[in-house]
């Protein structure tokens, strides 16, 4: 288990005063302090870690957020921001001496401008909510993390969320124009706007993916895009991971950049097929799902070219969707992957490293060896175009030994990702989960540089503490 710091007794002792202070700032229903009502906030998507916070504040406006931040700053109380609580890295895990600021009541879409292709939304709007609002006009918001039905745009900004389609459309950072933030002192600041490339330092870029370390995000100006005429998927199964990897290389080298290029290994194929009955080939060692966009004729042409490339690699299965329904069937298994693995194992850890795409076969081979060594099953799902690997490690959380092994296995995978030239996290963030691995990727000098930036925004280290930076560095 990853160590959490001892709460400050001095803050715990002032709990009643702090709660009273919050109640003076917010409507009665916006402050939660009763232990049984705090329970839903004790964890996020990293459910192995739980901690009841001191209290929860649920502001409805940026002004209320600013008032809460000014109060906490004055009182020296630590703050954990929270959107929908879907973080897989423990980004929203509370502390016993911290209040949680839940942003889910800031849930309004403030404006949509189709001519300028921007929308201004509050932090608690769900990712899918933006697309749902603009899709009747044929537009969409591009980043599509797996949790998009629940996760909120404020959380997406803080974690720089990706998704299955970022090979073409980029991640959250590439789809933002402006932010409204509240500083740790409680000051409201506008960053960027509805225009591209604001002058001065790139605050937008720095804040995106900063995991709640620098400020609280309350409003976001996003770019909205016109949807393509259509999209269609195909599926190709291969005899070995190496062969599928070589096929990915060949597709990219041909000059075609598919909008999505997903890879599943044998355990993932079997788990998904048993769950979703998507018609995946059970005799394949590796499966690619490839999606292209454009008019029907353009889709036909691109899928035909990709099919020809795949045929050079002796596929055991090749299926090109002819309709939107067939396309949805191909995606059904992949989209249900987490549920599928959840059905064959009581618990699983969803890892998230990135590797150079050319090292995939070697990395999968070594993960397989580790799996045998640890005696834990693993299924691998991979955004093959951009090198983002999601090993799902299956374990039993009721067995502390199994849990410990799973965490060690996960850490070994991430170290391997760094060793081959990749990184600890492609889209889930560092959070608590990967905090103590940061010195595998960064030198002490580099961590100090990041720490000084954190201190420039948050001199007292009140914002989302004990995340991202190793505890020793954070305490220095």
């Amino acid at each position: 288990m990853i160590a959490l710091p001892e709460p400050k007794a001095e803050v715990l002792a002032r709990r009643d005063d702090i709660v009273a202070g919050l109640r003076a700032l917010l409507p009665a229903d916006a402050v939660i302090a009763e232990p049984e009502r705090l329970r839903p906030y004790e964890t996020d998507g990293l459910t192995a870690y739980r901690q009841i916070p001191l209290a929860v504040a649920l502001p409805s406006t940026t002004d209320e957020v600013a008032a809460v931040m000014a109060f906490c700053h004055r009182e020296g109380v630590r703050v954990v921001p929270r959107g929908a609580g879907t973080s897989l890295s423990g980004g929203a895990l509370p502390l016993a001496d911290a209040i949680v600021i839940g942003l889910m009541r800031l849930n309004r879409i403030l404006s949509v401008d189709y001519a300028d292709r921007v929308a201004v939304v509050q932090a608690g709007v769900t990712n899918i909510g933006i697309t749902q609002r603009v899709q009747e006009e044929g537009f969409f918001y591009a980043p599509d993390p797996s949790s998009q039905l629940a996760c909120m745009i404020g959380g997406n900004v803080n974690m720089n969320s990706g998704g299955a389609h970022c090979l073409k459309y980029g991640v959250t950072a590439n789809n933002l124009l402006g932010l409204r933030i509240v500083t740790v002192e409680g000051e409201i600041v506008e960053i960027g706007g509805a225009h591209l490339d604001a002058a001065g330092y790139d605050w937008l870029g720095l804040l995106t993916g900063s995991e709640g370390q620098l400020a609280i995000v309350t409003e976001v100006t996003v770019r909205i895009l016109r949807s393509p005429e259509g999209a269609r998927a195909m599926l190709a199964g291969f005899r070995a991971n190496e062969v599928a990897g070589a096929c990915v290389d060949a597709i990219i080298s041909s000059g075609i950049i598919p909008v999505a290029l997903e890879f599943m290994d044998r355990p993932a194929i079997h788990a998904c097929e048993a769950f979703a009955h998507a018609g995946y080939p059970l005799d394949a060692e590796a499966l690619l799902i490839i999606e292209v966009e454009g008019s029907v004729e353009e889709q036909d042409r691109l899928l035909g070219q990709i099919r020809t490339i795949c045929e050079r690699f002796d596929p055991v299965s090749l299926r090109v969707a002819q309709t939107a329904e067939e396309s949805a069937a191909i995606w059904k298994g992949r989209k249900g992957a987490f549920g599928a693995v959840g059905r064959i194992s009581p618990d699983y850890l969803c890892m998230d490293g990135t590797i150079p795409t050319s090292r995939l076969p070697e990395v999968l081979g070594r993960i397989g060896a580790m799996s045998r060594e640890y005696g834990l099953q693993v299924a691998n799902i991979f955004h093959a175009g951009d090198g983002n690997l999601h090993p799902l490690i299956m374990f039993d959380a009721n067995d502390p030994a199994s849990m410990h092994k799973a965490e060690c296995f996960g850490a070994d995978i991430l170290k391997l990702c760094v060793e081959v030239g990749g990184c600890l996290t492609g889209e889930h963030g560092v959070g608590v989960e990967k905090r103590d691995l940061m010195d595998v990727q960064f030198t002490p000098t580099e961590l100090d540089q990041q720490r000084r930036i954190k201190s420039a925004f948050d001199p007292g280290w009140l914002l989302n503490p004990h995340k991202v930076f190793p505890l020793a560095a954070a305490a220095a």
Partner: protein, 399 residues
């Protein structure tokens, strides 16, 4: 003025370390092609990255390229073109506009975050910057990002240093994402629209499902300076598609129908398209002008026409890119207040790209920041460069 040109990252770090120990400010540059931009830097010595040159890694199948910061941009462009790829942000060559005789470097393009017409559809230089190596103001080597396409590990110093104009750290190497170059390009040209009508047409094009990768408006005077458009004798509204050749044909035909309410569009073929967009990218129509100042204003696209008109009313002239959101203006010195007021009224931002040195030293070359952001700017500057020796005053006086 003496120029230091270290030949390795270790030498670069040692140079900065000794400048830090001595408290000596350094003017930071690649080849100095952007010296006309922003504020003049007061420093006895110049530190150039030009000797940190060369492509250290290029993996076309992984879509990545790493090069020393001092590598000429043209060298990088030639290498990726040979593999059928391109730098997706389409960085401009502003040497004619800025009156520079030197060749720009990849580090300079990143440090200035300069992007061309494709920025509106495919992102800026900073969006395709995967990794950096840099030396901070105390001589420490700092890496951020890496050589993979997706990376959220730690704070994103790549984006922070891109566009920081050498004031936070000196880049020694950069890793960028590259993508396949489109097989073909085609451009629709609508003649004779006024700016507001033109931007409406560009918005319709960018809001279409056809993947428009360029959307610009050249007033008649600007269009007259581009050979392929001079015959129009009127303003030119330009919409580009870059795709496989058959898709260019299909998509331009569909777009032409969609845009019929704005007039009959002519189609420029692939070579003519490339020439026209190179001219737009490099702001050629404004390069030879007699204007004393050149401004780059970024606003929401629908505000572009108003910014352009404000500049014209003050004696300037200009052109629009990025669907109307990027306004290039050349104007007499006396128009400075009008240009800035126009940008401010539109809720946008500006950058003074060229002006006499005396003017650049006194004008806000970018909009002044509100107090809270100005505080953060100073604090973050101090976090990298505590003695303020890297390009002091380049963007903001005293920073």
């Amino acid at each position: 003025m003496s120029v230091l040109a270290p030949e390795s990252e270790a030498e670069l770090a040692a140079s900065i370390r000794s400048a830090w120990e001595a408290g000596e400010p350094l003017a930071i540059q690649g080849n100095g092609s952007k010296g006309a931009m922003l504020r003049p830097v007061q420093a006895a010595r110049t530190l150039s990255t030009r000797a940190l040159s060369g492509i250290s890694l290029y993996a076309p199948n992984e879509l990545i390229l790493e090069a020393g910061a001092g590598t000429p941009l043209a060298t990088v462009e030639a290498a990726v073109a040979a593999a059928g790829q391109q730098i997706i942000a389409e960085p401009p060559d502003l040497s004619a506009l800025l009156g520079a005789s030197s060749v720009q470097t990849i580090g300079g393009v990143v440090a200035a975050n300069l992007s061309g017409p494709r920025r509106v559809a495919a992102g800026a230089m900073r969006d395709h910057l995967l990794g950096i190596r840099a030396v901070n103001g105390t001589g420490e080597v700092i890496r951020s990002g890496g050589r993979v396409l997706k990376n959220v590990t730690g704070l994103d110093l790549c984006k922070l240093l891109a566009g920081s104009h050498g004031t936070l750290g000196v880049l020694s190497a950069v890793t960028i994402k590259v993508l396949p170059a489109a097989e073909s390009a085609g451009t629709l040209v609508l003649g004779g629209l006024d700016p507001a009508r033109a931007v409406a047409a560009l918005s319709a094009a960018l809001g279409s499902p056809y993947g428009v990768s360029g959307a610009a408006f050249l007033p008649a005077a600007a269009a007259a300076r581009v050979p392929a458009l001079a015959g129009l004798g009127a303003s030119a509204t330009l919409v580009r598609i870059e795709e496989f050749a058959v898709s260019v044909a299909y998509r331009t035909a569909r777009l032409r129908d969609d845009l019929a309410r704005f007039g009959r569009a002519d189609l420029l073929d692939d070579p003519a398209s490339r020439a026209v967009w190179r001219a737009v990218r490099d702001v050629v129509p404004l390069a030879g002008g007699s204007g004393e100042t050149v401004w780059r204003v970024s606003v929401r696209p629908s505000s572009g026409p108003a910014v352009l008109e404000a500049a014209e009313a003050a004696g300037g002239c200009g052109m629009l890119d990025w669907g109307g959101g990027l306004v290039w203006i050349t104007a007499p010195t006396a128009a400075a207040e009008a240009v800035m007021a126009g940008a401010r009224a539109a809720g946008g931002t500006w950058m003074l790209m060229r002006a006499p040195e005396t003017l650049r030293a006194v004008l806000p070359v970018v909009p002044p920041e509100p107090p809270a952001l100005a505080r953060l700017t100073r604090a973050v500057k101090a976090a990298f460069d505590p003695k303020g020796i890297l390009n002091p005053g380049r963007v903001f006086a005293g920073v």
